[in-house]
Symmetry: C2
Subunit: 336 residues, 2 copies
């Protein structure tokens, strides 16, 4: 049996409400009562029950995070861990704890239980698109939520911080174009190329700019495969590119490594550019030009929105766009 506030009251010879006042330092009580209460608390090792406080207070002081394995992020990306750390920090600074759920799959059944059972005041989704079923549970509980997503679709069923990586990739193409590059090889992330907004943006932009060189290989998120594919391409290609643009930094770095092995100088002979701005990008030799995901900004906007929403009774759906930022480093240069 845990010691309750009643035990403390009895021990201190006062009433429960006096104990509450003494602990919360609200109301005015005599020094004597105050002291006796605190002594009793010490003696009995009293710690208030969090669940009971939540029940009466009407809030749990925690925020749920749903982060499934199939993100838009690479799962091996060290970003994710620092995102979690940053989330934890931001939340706890506002007095909230983090209830993290990493479902094994994306199916509704996996998440419904969590959404129903979790003692949370709000939710941050890292899922591509919250399903209507899930959103309904939140509505029943009147819980605010915000998704951190990619793309540019209007999310109608929830608030969302949305990074338009398609637009980011277009910026990347434009940047290389502005350096004079007209033959840009694209390294796609995986086999589902035609559903990858980054790929689509490359294709679109290359077309818009009227370039007739439009070549693509698939790196499958992997350094090894990128290496193999690139060396195959280099052998068979009729015209070699003057710039390589990769769907993420991992593959861009792999490409740089391959070029280095072949004695091709970056950026003098070939420019290389990535996407994400992982830590390794800045440390590479030469340092990798890339499009940075504004991770901190995304998290902060999501948290701010949730903080605000949790204060209000009515739910509104906000769209919070953020942009990928061009980070110019040493791996790209003007074509001479």
């Amino acid at each position: 049996m845990r010691t309750t506030i009643k035990d403390v009251a009895r021990e201190a010879g006062v009433s429960v409400s006096t104990v509450t006042y003494a602990l919360k330092k609200k109301g005015k009580i005599t020094k004597a009562s105050h002291k006796r209460v605190w002594e009793a608390v010490e003696r009995l090792n009293y710690v208030p029950d969090a669940t009971a406080r939540s029940l009466v207070g009407g809030k749990t002081n925690s925020v749920g995070i749903i982060m499934p394995p199939a993100l838009g992020f690479d799962f091996s990306d060290p970003h994710i861990l620092s995102m979690l750390a940053e989330l934890s920090k931001t939340l706890s600074h506002k007095g909230y704890w983090m209830s993290l759920y990493m479902p094994e799959r994306m199916e509704d059944e996996f998440m419904r239980q969590f959404l129903m059972d979790a003692k949370i005041d709000g939710l941050i989704w890292m899922v591509q698109r919250p399903t209507d079923t899930m959103v309904r549970v939140l509505e029943c509980r009147n819980l605010p939520s915000v998704a951190i997503t990619y793309g540019k679709d209007l999310q109608l069923n929830t608030s969302a911080v949305v990074m338009d990586d398609g637009a980011g990739m277009e910026k990347a193409v434009d940047y290389l174009y502005s350096l004079g590059h007209r033959r840009i090889l694209y390294i796609a992330r995986d086999a589902e190329e035609m559903r990858d907004r980054r790929v689509l943006a490359y294709l679109q932009r290359v077309k818009d700019l009227g370039l007739d060189y439009c070549q693509m290989i698939s790196g499958h998120f992997s350094e090894k495969i990128t290496l193999a594919q690139l060396s195959w391409f280099w052998r068979v290609a009729q015209e070699r590119p003057t710039a390589i643009l990769a769907g993420n930094d991992i593959m861009a770095l792999a490409a740089m490594k391959a070029l280095a092995q072949w004695g091709i100088r970056v950026p003098d002979e070939v420019s290389v550019m990535g996407f994400d701005d992982i830590p390794a990008a800045a440390q590479a030799m030469p340092a990798l030009t890339t499009m940075a995901q504004p991770v901190s900004e995304m998290i902060n906007r999501a948290c701010d929105h949730i903080f605000e929403a949790m204060e209000q009774e009515e739910r509104t759906h906000a769209l919070l766009p953020v942009e990928a930022k061009l980070i110019v480093r040493q791996s790209t240069a003007a074509l001479n």
Copy 2:
């Protein structure tokens, strides 16, 4: 105002207990009542309040995880993320959620609030050594806890899964010795070498084996620094090692890279061995021999212990040792 069980009862024209029975499928109620209840639930979008259920049930169905930045692990280690994923999975399979707290610093004040306020039934620490202050809070709440730690110290104030990485490093030295190596260079993780159990184990074991070659450089957890330090060592060393043993895989892989650049063949000319068994170790060329941290085992033992402890009223302190496992791959060979 949220819809409560009373609303459902009124809507269905039955009493609250009938509603509970219908929802929990316990007790026996008529088909008719059952149906009416469920219809009311649907109509009103009723979701039971998690906090209230916790209060009456006496359990929160969640487990706290404290994972501070200064772990024994590398923070950039992708292991950590998969550990979290595995924790989430294991916990949710048993019907528990994960309350993750990543305090910015290790000080008590940072964690006390969490320990007091978190709605959890048990706690898993990733901290090196829970402080007495913290343990006291847990005792007041009568919460079971288990720490996941390194070293071989008996933890007296809490249960602990403990991996003796010192013993693991001794095994590593022994293995290289058994291959005939007598000159083993050690790459330490950071400047605080003399407090690093892995380093100490190397020194001790080398001494025990009566080897007079005992050389060490400091890689500071970093590929770049390892490279620099190693190339410096290679130039100035009077006697070069026949084997390199690193305090973690990152640095071992960096060493392999350096050797490759210098045209030194691994393992024919020099054996290289790491510690941790990060994913990249298996993918390296040649694949890296290393001591694996039995991460899954550590997590499973911690979870099992917590699951068991949460069932019982009395708290006991168990010591759950696990061993690092030798993973022989291609980067080590017998000295010829």
